[in-house]
Symmetry: C2
Subunit: 157 residues, 2 copies
């Protein structure tokens, strides 16, 4: 990987972390996602809104995919990259596949609810028709710290 | 199972099949879903709208869950049942779990893209925090016939 590429994906993950922090500020589990076009433009940024929207499907990844598809007028995001602060759950991983996202960068692993490297391992079956390139552990410490702080405050509250 | 219960769930699946037929009429893959409250009222009916809405997440099940949650003002559908004409994919199965749906009735198996009895087997992992009761093969022939007709016509067209 070139240095300039590394800087770019760190800055995209920073945007995702900002969206995660904003989600925490709304009382939502702090997860954020960013979608970047093939030419490097940010086309969608979203944080979790399950509580606010009374919608169990309103995870950061799904909201970002829906926003990017709406902006593009397409149900496919070929060539696009997603940056998300936490390992996607099975629902979100399958949505990444359905949207044909080309590269998936994620932060912290999620042993409790993850569906990429554990559990359902959504991308590891013949029933998954598109598998993105996957890069894990990006800014994982920042993402983990956000989640830990959120749940520690919740227990105190 | 009592005869009256059998009649009820056949009629709910008929509604889901109607929604699947309506989806085919819109040029969408014919899948329909219905959500029924604990006291037996239909709270949401939806068919696939991925093409119309340019949204790869707009599967019948997700649209029905989002509509039912919006109607109830809750992100949980405890005690509710879903009737869907085809085995849910991994995305939709995980959404059924996230919504805490109590009973999942589905029609045809989906060896190509299913995520319940094959592939990701979403409900079969510790990372899945709620497992519904599952009843498969309900009106499966009608559901399969609809799908076969749709794809046969597509190949002709």
């Amino acid at each position: 990987m070139q240095a300039s590429e590394a800087m770019t994906f760190t800055s995209h993950m920073s945007l995702a972390l900002d969206a995660a922090r904003a989600a925490a500020g709304r009382g939502e589990v702090p997860v954020g996602a960013v979608i970047v076009s093939p030419d490097g433009h940010v086309v969608a940024v979203a944080g979790n809104r399950t509580r606010e929207q009374n919608d169990p499907t309103a995870h950061a990844e799904l909201l970002a995919i829906r926003a990017a598809c709406a902006a593009l007028g397409s149900q496919r995001l070929g060539g696009h990259a997603m940056y998300v602060t936490l390992e996607p759950c099975a629902m979100c991983a399958a949505a990444v596949s359905a949207a044909r996202i080309e590269r998936l960068y994620y932060g912290a692993s999620d042993p409790k609810s993850g569906g990429v490297a554990q559990g359902a391992r959504v991308f590891s079956h013949a029933q998954c028709h598109h598998v993105p390139q996957i890069f894990d552990g990006i800014s994982a410490r920042d993402s983990e710290a956000l989640l830990k702080e959120f749940f520690a405050n919740k227990r105190k509250g």
